[in-house]
């Protein structure tokens, strides 16, 4: 009997295991997870779950019993140490070895930890797992004071959710707006306005120097000398891929995979946050979003079964903060033109990011449909007429060239 071993029971790993079964693979499937939970969705951890609106079981990808019913050997609380592509073995902590015919690495990412003095103080928190979210929940009592370090997506969503629980929030961000690097200043200022309206005290151009306190954090001090008193802090400064298992495989800001998600070793694939994918439209890219994990896991599974299909999803994600639903598709590290359809002032708009005349990514605030309709345009790397993007009477679907 053939054996598929999936290292990592997050969204990519969990959805890959389901796809293997759904596509008729009748061999053994071993799904290894370092956390104690079956595969679950992380997006609610900074939103509904953090606000106490959703229970843990509601965020599971599938009910806990589903894996056994489908003869998937889900082993949680198990850490894989090493993969040996030559011997076709995965070695677990403690020395157990599992032989595979094919393997998928979906080990995800972990939060970056910079060497900041005081980072280990009690009350300096971050968010990746259910356990992390529960720690923030316990600290986020009405009237408590929080310092949010970093206004990327995690920081901005946590700020929004804990504001709704009555926490006083001061945000410390090195750039000039929230989400600056992804969205740029124009759209970033709209996000800033939502947070300002909801009473977040934002300090831009500030970098953390140290956390102060005895055992427990009492203040965050920035390099410019700003001192923010707090009862707890949440640090959201990005993630790094969990590549340690991949010794011997090609690694470059993630485990390098080709267009079909195969690593440099035969019979070993990678998917999700850990995979640096050779994307046919965007080039080499490592994506840390939910939808990517959910699509890449199944795509890798189908290729493990011989499909050999290029993964060309245009990438999509959303962020909910207060009454703002932000959605984005595509990928642009840099751009030279931002075309707006709708109104930044009225906070209902879609922004199109162009580089060298090519549409590379699309963001919307409270206009989800535009993003959904622009996804095929991003995938086709069209060179649009900016006037048509701006014109509300032009149906975006008509901008796709006939193939």
């Amino acid at each position: 009997m053939r054996t598929a071993v999936i290292v990592g029971a997050g969204l990519a790993g969990g959805s890959a295991a389901s796809t293997l079964r759904q596509e008729g693979f009748d061999g053994r499937i071993v799904l290894l997870g370092a956390e104690e939970h079956p595969p679950y969705e992380r997006p609610p951890l900074s939103k509904e779950f953090l606000r106490g609106e959703q229970a843990l079981a509601d965020v599971y990808l599938r009910p806990a019993g589903w894996y056994g019913e489908n003869e998937i050997e889900l082993r949680t609380g198990v850490r894989a140490e090493r993969i040996d592509p030559g011997a076709h073995e995965v070695e677990l902590e403690g020395g157990e070895r599992i032989r595979f015919d094919m393997a998928l690495i979906a080990t995800g990412a972990r939060n970056r930890r910079f060497p900041i003095p005081g980072l280990d103080l009690e009350g300096v928190l971050d968010l990746r797992t259910v356990a992390d979210a529960e720690r923030i929940q316990r600290a986020a009592q009405p009237g408590a004071r929080a310092a949010v370090v970093g206004m990327g997506f995690i920081g901005a969503e946590v700020a929004s959710s804990i504001r709704s629980r009555g926490v006083e929030v001061t945000a410390i961000e090195p750039f000039e707006t929230p989400l600056f690097r992804v969205l740029g200043p124009d759209v970033g200022r709209v996000v800033e306005a939502f947070h300002r309206d909801h009473g977040v005290d934002m300090r831009f151009g500030e970098t953390v120097d140290r956390f102060e306190g005895g055992e427990r954090v009492k203040a965050v001090v920035t390099k410019s000398g700003l001192r923010v008193e707090c009862d707890f802090a949440v640090v959201g400064v990005g993630v790094q891929p969990n590549v340690e298992i991949a010794e011997g495989l090609e690694v470059d800001n993630g485990i390098v995979v080709d267009a079909t998600l195969r690593t440099s070793a035969p019979d070993v694939w990678a998917a999700g946050d850990v995979a640096r994918h050779d994307h046919p439209v965007f080039g080499p890219v490592r994506v840390e979003h939910f939808d990517n994990a959910l699509k890449m896991g199944p795509a890798a599974a189908r290729n493990m079964l011989g499909a050999r299909a290029v993964f060309d999803d245009p990438h999509w994600f959303w962020s909910d903060q207060y009454e703002m639903n932000l959605q984005m598709a595509g990928f642009a590290m840099t751009w030279d033109d931002l075309v707006i359809r709708g109104s930044l002032e009225e906070r209902s708009f879609t922004g199109f990011y162009l580089a060298g005349g090519v549409l590379r990514s699309v963001v919307s605030v409270n206009r989800q449909r535009d993003v959904r309709r622009a996804m095929p345009l991003v995938k086709a790397a069209i060179r649009p007429d900016p006037a048509q993007l701006r014109d509300e009477d032009v149906d975006l679907r008509t901008l796709l060239p006939a193939s």
Partner: protein, 102 residues
């Protein structure tokens, strides 16, 4: 036993549109694509968003909240995060009326 309920005038659900209607205790999404009509549960099986707010793509609908895609004929999930199908209902156009069997 399902029985047909008139939910709308056919002219009020234009080609390429999807709208939600309350039928008894349920909210049903009705989609009109060319000569085809579809009726299905308006409540996304993932997190409960309205599928009538979704985007039609051929004979499927994509939820605007988190991207789940359902086949409107069978209710089956074509793309997660949803894992459960949505209920589908028989639908017919009788004269000017759109009728759904619930």
């Amino acid at each position: 036993m399902a029985k047909f309920h008139t939910v709308a005038k056919a002219v009020d659900v234009g080609d390429g549109e999807v709208q939600a209607f309350d039928v008894g205790e349920r909210t049903i999404a009705v989609a009109h694509v060319g000569d085809d009509w579809y009726a299905f549960d308006d409540v996304c099986s993932h997190r409960g968003c309205s599928l009538a707010d979704g985007e039609l793509q051929g004979s499927s609908i994509v939820c605007m909240c988190h991207g789940s895609e359902f086949d409107m004929e069978s209710g089956d999930v074509l793309q997660g995060p949803a894992v459960e199908a949505v209920d589908v209902f028989e639908i017919r156009v009788e004269g000017d009326d759109v009728e759904v069997a619930v």
